[in-house]
């Protein structure tokens, strides 16, 4: 069987299929919606092939056009990127199944093209080893995201899309300026090569490019002052898209920042300053979410809060901290994606996004309410669920050095997770314990929409009751990340 | 032999009832003013063991002092029935005997005896404390000789009393 464990295929296959959709659209008409499913199915196979290789030798490198790395564009999948790629392709596959039923409006094939491009962009950004490639992938994702946010073509979707377009393009241009500065300084675009050459520069010379790249990626990664577009964009987008946006796109951007800060710039002094960003994002996200009446805006703000939480965990700097960050990333992606899919189904049947109209859902839509509850419990960090282990890890990591600052951080983090629990509970109280006002006939969501949510919840439950393999995997991933020299040598020397 | 103890038991219980008569402090008409002097130091009825008590359950004597109109009769009957068995009723003054100066008024009861069995009457339009003391002495003698049996009469011809009461109270 031909060896398909080549990361480049991860990008090639979906691009090919996206192109195919455009070509076959006139003939296949309705059949077009099955192509993304096939695309991401194949991608998923490739990832499953990749897992054993990465687990054995830590990193898998593949170069295009066969020539040596400093010049060729290479693709590197180490443990951390495998971790995220797995989530991305899994979500992509499941949401594409969700889209089979969810997308009814006219320009269906345009939606599917943009959707495939969005997920490919994300996987590309995670997998790439070349800085300029990261910029291209960033462009592809942003543009397809702008299109998808404005898909519903009503007033607030258009306004949200436009706002996101402006902010996104500013971000992309800042990122480009940063990359160009780095290219001018080091002469190469390959991440590992830059990482090696950049050592010679003093702290001050590395300052400006880092600032630009950090802000560029920060806009996409929903950090504190830069995330103003997110609360409008995610609710306006169709639920399937917003589950990808919240689930994996912001996480990919944060991965970008992590890769840049640690592997390339090796900025350990800066990391403590980033804690401030993490905490501010967490605080603003959670408190804002507490006051929302619209369920999707509430989930969007909660995404900001959770991103703040795992960015704070990453910026603790220690291996335990990063391990906690990766666990929280996984927990958040899976749980938030389920929440958006389930909420999509509920809005699909109830017809309104206001939380008060969800009264009595617990009785009428038993399965979706149950899925919502499990995902919410895991996100909040209730004991038996996966979120509890990640929150435990983050707090333990914070308090490795007990001083006034760390206790203050812990108090803020716990208070915010209390607020998060409070507003999720408010929704569940309405859903389960309030009687529906008028007897509107509310059917359960269609089967195809529920299957993705069910698989995600099953994964969450499996992780909750048997978390040890994932925890050890995250620990090794954190160790690899911190040991940046391993990455550099393997990319440069290893071929 | 037991008849003798039966006899002795009745004698002792009569003696006990004679020596400790508890008076129900229940005053209907104008006669109540006569009671404080009999209780306090000048005439001191406590010498004979007569003490004013508040609730019918604890009292032995029901003093109907003064005129009895229809509304009060209802209360008197309830109180009388709430009192425990060896109970005695004393009619104070002429109003209890035959309605006194209100004999022809529409609401006053003329003969108290028709409604509840009265053991002793005291004549006089509000008898003085000396008369009350002699009445108590007389009542004690009646109890001793066993003739003060108003409560038995009430039980024997209960129907008679009830008809009279129903006639008046409706």
């Amino acid at each position: 069987m031909v060896n398909i464990a080549n990361p480049i295929l991860l990008i090639a296959i979906p691009l090919l299929f996206a192109f195919l959709i455009a070509v076959l659209a006139p003939w296949l008409k309705k059949g077009v919606k099955y192509i993304p499913v096939i695309a991401f199915g194949l991608n998923l196979l490739v990832v499953f092939e990749l897992i054993p290789d990465v687990l054995d030798n830590g990193i898998v490198i593949a170069t295009t056009a066969g020539i040596k790395p400093p010049f060729a564009i290479n693709v590197a999948v180490d443990r951390l990127s495998l971790f995220l790629v797995l989530i991305a392709t899994l979500l992509g596959f499941l949401v594409s199944i969700y889209n089979l039923v969810y997308i009814k409006e006219e320009p269906a094939e345009k939606f599917h093209i943009l959707f495939t491009l969005l997920v490919t962009g994300i996987t590309w950004m995670i997998v790439t080893g070349d800085l300029f490639n990261m910029f291209v992938a960033f462009e592809v994702t942003s543009i397809s995201a702008f299109g998808l946010v404005g898909f519903h073509r009503d007033k607030d979707a258009a306004e949200a899309g436009f706002k996101y377009l402006v902010m996104g393009s500013i971000g992309a241009s800042l990122l480009l300026i940063g990359v160009v500065m780095l290219y001018a300084a080091t002469g190469t675009l390959n991440m590992a090569d830059i990482a090696e050459k950049i050592m010679r520069f003093t702290f001050k010379q590395k300052l400006l490019p880092y600032a630009f790249i950090f802000t560029g990626l920060g806009i996409e990664g929903a950090l504190f002052p830069l995330n103003a577009w997110l609360p409008d964009a995610h609710p306006a987008a169709p639920s399937s898209v917003s589950s990808i946006l919240s689930g994996i796109m912001t996480t990919a951007a944060i991965y970008g920042i992590i890769r840049v800060t640690v592997t390339i710039f090796n900025y350990y002094q800066v990391i403590l300053f980033l804690i401030l960003f993490g905490l501010l994002t967490l605080m603003f996200g959670e408190t804002a979410a507490f006051f929302q009446k619209d369920i999707k805006r509430m989930l969007a703000y909660s995404t900001i809060g959770q991103t703040g939480l795992f960015f704070y965990a990453f910026s603790l700097g220690s291996i335990n901290g990063m391990q906690g960050a990766f666990l929280q990333m996984m927990n958040h992606s899976l749980a938030k994606a389920t929440l958006f899919l389930v909420v999509g189904g509920i809005i699909f049947s109830v017809g309104s996004r206001n939380i008060d109209d969800f009264a009595g859902i617990g009785r009428k839509m038993k399965l979706s309410a149950f899925l919502f509850a499990i995902a919410a419990f895991s996100l909040m960090g209730l004991p038996p669920f996966f979120g509890f282990w990640s929150k435990l890890k983050i707090i333990f990591a914070t308090l490795e050095r007990v001083n006034v600052y760390t206790i203050a951080f812990v108090v803020i983090v716990l208070f915010m997770s209390l607020i998060e629990a409070a507003y999720f509970f408010r929704v569940m109280q309405v859903m389960f314990f309030k009687e529906a006002k008028e007897e509107k006939e509310v059917r359960e969501a269609p089967a195809w929409m529920l299957i993705p949510a069910i698989t995600l919840v099953v994964i969450i439950l499996v992780l909750s009751f048997y978390p040890t393999p994932v925890i050890n995997f995250a620990h090794k991933a954190a160790a690899d990340l911190v040991g940046r020299s391993v990455y550099i040598n393997s990319v440069l020397g290893g071929l | 032999m037991d008849k003798m103890t039966e006899e002795q038991y009745r004698a002792i219980s009569n003696m006990l009832r004679k020596r400790s008569l508890w008076m129900l402090h229940y005053c209907t008409g104008c006669g109540a003013m006569e009671l404080p002097p009999t209780m306090t130091s000048r005439y001191d009825m406590e010498r004979f063991g007569i003490v004013p008590y508040v609730t019918p359950r604890q009292a032995d004597i029901l003093l109907v002092t003064g005129y009895v109109n229809v509304k009060t009769l209802k209360r008197i009957i309830t109180v009388y029935e709430q009192m425990l068995d060896p109970k005695y009723v004393i009619g104070f003054g002429s109003c209890a005997i035959n309605g006194g100066i209100y004999y022809d008024s529409y609401s006053v009861i003329n003969r108290l005896d028709a409604y509840i069995p009265v053991d002793v009457y005291i004549a006089g339009c509000m008898p003085r404390p000396e008369a009350i003391i002699t009445m108590f002495k007389h009542l004690m003698n009646l109890i001793d000789s066993g003739k003060a049996d108003g409560y038995k009469r009430y039980k024997q011809n209960y129907e008679f009393y009830k008809n009279n009461q129903r006639k008046v109270l409706g």
Partner: protein, 626 residues
């Protein structure tokens, strides 16, 4: 068969799931599973009577091993948990018959029992904390099943217990930072070597979590709402068992992790007990007195019992925080007794609510003729709770008083005693307004509660007598527990205490036997006298007025209004108002923070520019802000 701790811990959870699934099939399948598994858990407990099973490893996490253990102290609390939960399930079969969502209710009931069992069996801090939070959540789901008002009560309950849980979480994280293994032995070893400041931090943070659950005065405001609004079979579980977990936690904290000498070292010991424990004692004493005064002024029967739970758990905490072996034994024994008679009282009032539908004391009355069994249960409950000799409340209160006298802590004894005299007031109020007095017209045809609801009342009343006359039964387990904790166990006999332990000896059997003989003598005299005839409740002294069913000839509203005039000035300042003020403050603060997202594009882009300058500036000065 060798019964491992894992099987014991799993029984309630498995029972809960089976009951939930069984409920889908048929009503009775659910009930059989629920009763079967809670009874099984109760029986399994007896396999571990007086045995100390060491570390049963059930998991490994972040380098620290997750362990279960059982020792005589945790055996007592496990016995309370399984026993009372079994009775609660028996009671709730008839009581919550008509409600919706019953499968979920039984699932939660058994999960709470499992969580509390987990706490008592926990051998290391992570398991302890995990089951602690699980207990808070599952009991929250139970509370909010009690109707509309219970949702707000539940909300307040969960916020306060989660704040307590998180303060405990910080304490555990601090210890994990130092000693990477969180098994109780390592924790106590670490604490004995670390600096006093660290130990005080740990004591305070861990203690706050426990005080919230044990409803010690300043942190008690959730209890009256949660216990009175919860569905009637859940209240006995809450006040009978849930607050005992706080007491168990305190025992583990004071004598498991730290020891009396270690706490003594922390601060100057001019006082009879170490300073930290002395503060805890004063908190407990204050909560005894104030909770009793509050209970006296309550109008709603369940709120009255809830406040009485706060004052009784004050005794337990006072006993445990005392440090002397007699005091700790008294505290633990009172925890057991309180679990028995408080659940008994809540079962009785649950039955009354089941039949009459109201729990407002001024509407009830005269139920003794219609519900004699509940009256007997209530009678045993209040006699036991007020600590009157023949029943079990007396022995444990007596031990706590003697221990206070031995340690010469006089003012605490005064407050404890006033609390117990105050108990007579509100207990008489409870039994009088519900069972004695005039029977209102609308409750004329009230029947007795069905048999399944009477069973817990019979069992618990019997238990109050058994532990009242033979306190020795409970004493040998408590003495074993004290030996495990390293405290000199108390000397005891089956009927009381010999000369040495307390200030002077006690033989409970003498008191009860003399009482019974005297009762027989007086009864004989009474029967010789002339027979008495029964009289209806309307044939009563009303200064001649004829009492008819319409005239509400009853004194039950504002029962202690005159006493209220004496103590009302104390309650101007209440902890509840303070917490509401804080809640409003956080809401306002949150509102301001929300203003950041203005909504127009220009401000957003200005944010970006501002950010770049900040990042650049910070990097310029070397990125080291602190």
């Amino acid at each position: 068969m060798d019964m491992s701790l894992g099987v014991l811990l799993a029984t309630p959870f498995v029972g809960g799931i089976l009951a939930y699934l069984g409920g889908k099939i048929h009503r009775w399948v659910r009930y059989t599973f629920a009763i079967l598994f809670s009874l099984l858990a109760f029986i399994e407990i007896f396999f571990f009577y007086n045995t100390t099973v060491g570390n049963y490893v059930w998991g490994r996490l972040f380098g620290s091993v997750l362990v279960l253990q059982i020792n005589p102290i945790s055996w007592i609390f496990a016995f309370i948990v399984t026993g009372i939960s079994f009775l609660v399930i028996l009671f709730s079969i008839n009581d919550v018959e008509g409600h919706k969502g019953l499968d979920f209710y039984y699932l939660e009931l058994l999960f709470v029992e499992g969580a509390m069992l987990g706490i008592t069996l926990a051998g290391d801090l992570i398991t302890f904390f995990m089951f602690w939070e699980l207990m808070s959540w599952t009991s929250y789901f139970l509370i909010i099943q009690g109707g509309k008002k219970s949702i707000t009560a539940g909300y307040k309950y969960i916020i306060m217990s989660v704040i307590g849980a998180y303060s405990m979480f910080v304490a555990i994280a601090m210890v994990f930072g130092r000693a990477h293994s969180l098994v109780f032995k390592n924790v106590s070893m670490l604490l004995s070597q670390s600096s006093p400041a660290f130990v005080i931090w740990f004591f305070v943070l861990f203690g706050i979590g426990l005080f919230v659950k044990a409803a010690v005065m300043p942190l008690h405001t959730w209890l009256p709402d949660a216990h009175s609004e919860a569905p009637s079979p859940v209240s006995p579980l809450l006040s009978g068992v849930l607050i005992k977990m706080g007491a168990y936690g305190l025992t583990v904290l004071f004598y498991g992790f730290l020891s009396v000498q270690l706490i003594g070292k922390l601060a100057p010991t001019i006082l009879p007990t170490p300073l930290l424990l002395y503060i805890v004692e004063w908190l407990a004493a204050i909560s005894i007195v104030l909770a009793t005064f509050l209970a006296i002024l309550q109008e709603d029967a369940k709120r009255l019992l809830a406040y009485s739970s706060i004052s009784q758990i004050g005794y337990v905490v006072l006993g445990i925080a005392m440090g002397s072996s007699l005091g700790i034994a008294g505290g633990l024994f009172h925890a057991l007794n309180h679990a028995i008679f408080k659940s008994l009282l809540f079962f009785v009032i649950g039955g009354v609510i089941y039949r009459t539908g109201t729990r407002n004391m001024s509407e009830l009355g005269g139920l003794i003729k219609k519900m004699p069994v509940s009256f007997i249960g209530a009678l045993f409950g209040i006699v036991a709770l007020s600590g009157v000799p023949p029943l079990n409340g007396f022995v444990s209160k007596w031990m706590i008083y003697e221990a206070l006298l031995q340690k010469k802590e006089v003012f605490l004894l005064i407050m404890a005693f006033v609390g117990s005299t105050g108990a007579f007031l509100y207990l008489y109020r409870f039994i009088h307004s519900v069972f004695l007095g005039q029977l209102p017209e609308k409750y004329k045809d009230v029947k007795e509660v069905p048999f399944l609801m009477q069973l817990p009342i019979w069992i618990l009343s019997a238990l109050t007598i058994v532990f009242g006359i033979w306190p020795g039964l409970a004493m040998n387990v408590i003495a074993q527990g004290e030996k495990f904790l390293g405290i000199t166990p108390i000397k005891y006999t089956l009927y009381g205490f010999p000369q040495g332990t307390a200030m002077s000896s006690l033989k409970v059997i003498n008191i009860s036997s003399v009482l019974i003989i005297a009762f027989i003598v007086v009864l004989a005299l009474y029967l010789m006298l002339p027979k008495e005839r029964f009289v209806s409740q309307y044939d009563t002294y009303a200064a001649g007025q004829v009492v008819t069913p319409e005239t509400k000839y009853n004194y039950s509203y504002g029962f202690y209004m005159f006493f209220g005039r004496v103590i009302n000035p104390i309650f101007k300042w209440s902890a509840d108002k303070m917490y509401e003020a804080w809640a409003r403050a956080t809401k306002v603060f949150g509102d301001y923070m929300r203003r950041v997202y203005t909504g127009n594009l220009e401000t957003y882009s200005s944010y970006i520019v501002v950010l770049i300058t900040i990042v650049a500036f910070v990097l310029l000065i070397g990125g080291k802000l602190w």
